[in-house]
């Protein structure tokens, strides 16, 4: 990355503010749809940070996979399980919030202590830059070949598993009346559409 020092610092600051702000929005906003869209903001800001870190290929992969696939999948999930229900308050729920906040702040303090207490061996080698894509390809087909093939098998298993899990429950002992026209459809248990008339999407 051949940017000037000040430009890098300012872009890092802006992207960091965007990451932290949108991540807080994902966690804290009451409306789940806003959270899902802010999650896309987190992913895009992190892709910008990857560009600052001389990793253009991973930044493109981040936008394609996270923003293009995972975020859209989560939005479709919200549409499918959009139930308009007020959550019953938990007994002594504030203790949980306080304890979790304390644990998270403590974890952050611990990590910050480790980060500043370690003397990192900063390398002075020239970054790969645009050659990183070639290097990733070489890695994937030489020393990371086994994880690469395992990842493809895992993706296949995840696809089949997701289809099997998300399919509607079917009734095995019910035979279709019209065997010819229903030959390709499984007999599924009919179900009513839940909260299809709800107007708000408050969770």
């Amino acid at each position: 990355m051949t940017l000037a020092e000040g430009v890098q610092l300012v872009s890092f600051g802006l992207l960091a503010i965007m990451v932290i702000g949108t991540a807080l929005g994902v966690v804290l906003l009451p409306n789940i749809v806003y959270s899902a869209f802010l999650l896309g903001g987190v992913f895009i800001s992190i892709a910008g940070l990857y560009v600052l870190l001389n990793a253009g290929f991973v930044a493109a992969a981040q936008i394609l996979i996270y923003v293009g696939a995972v975020n859209i999948l989560i939005l479709f999930g919200i549409m499918l399980v959009n139930k308009n229900q007020p959550f019953s308050p938990v007994r002594r729920g504030w203790i949980r919030l306080l304890a979790t906040g304390g644990v998270c702040l403590g974890l952050f303090a611990l990590l910050a202590t480790v980060v500043f207490g370690t003397s990192w061996q900063i390398s002075s080698a020239v970054p790969a830059g645009d050659q990183a894509t070639v290097l990733i390809g070489i890695h994937l087909f030489t020393d990371f070949l086994l994880p690469f093939e395992l990842a493809s098998i895992l993706l296949l298993m995840a696809m089949i598993g997701a289809i099997v899990l998300a399919r509607r429950e079917f009734i095995p002992d019910e035979t279709p009346a019209d065997a010819v026209s229903d030959a390709l459809t499984l007999p599924e248990r009919p179900r009513e559409l839940v909260s299809a008339t709800g107007e708000t999407t408050e969770d």
């Binding site: 966690v27 959270s35 987190v42």
Partner: protein, 102 residues
């Protein structure tokens, strides 16, 4: 050059926000989103280390690509499980999913 510590601090903050959302969320979809935040924080750490400690070989970037693909599979299966459990229990409240609680 931006110090490595800035990136690590940013990733640590993102990780802590993700942990907070993972524990305190009531909506099950928000729990899934928090897990994505955690994975992104880990990825940011990997990329920062790859750029600062080992910039010539790009091994950390290959690791990040693996983590991204695993995260995609995880979110697909997670949403399928959420759909199945939603049909069973008819709610998205995490407190209602206490079938395995002793």
């Amino acid at each position: 050059m931006i110090p490595l510590e800035y990136y690590l601090l940013l990733a640590a903050a993102l990780f802590c926000i993700g942990i907070y959302g993972l524990v305190t969320s009531r909506n099950v979809i928000r729990v899934l989103m928090s897990i994505e935040l955690l994975l992104n924080a880990v990825n940011l750490n990997l990329m920062a280390f790859s750029n600062y400690l080992d910039p010539a070989t790009a091994t950390g970037q290959a690791f990040a690509v693996f983590v991204i693909s695993i995260a995609a599979a995880e979110s697909a299966v997670g949403l399928a499980i959420i759909l199945a459990i939603y049909r069973n229990r008819d709610t998205v409240d995490m407190e209602a999913f206490n079938l395995l609680k002793w």
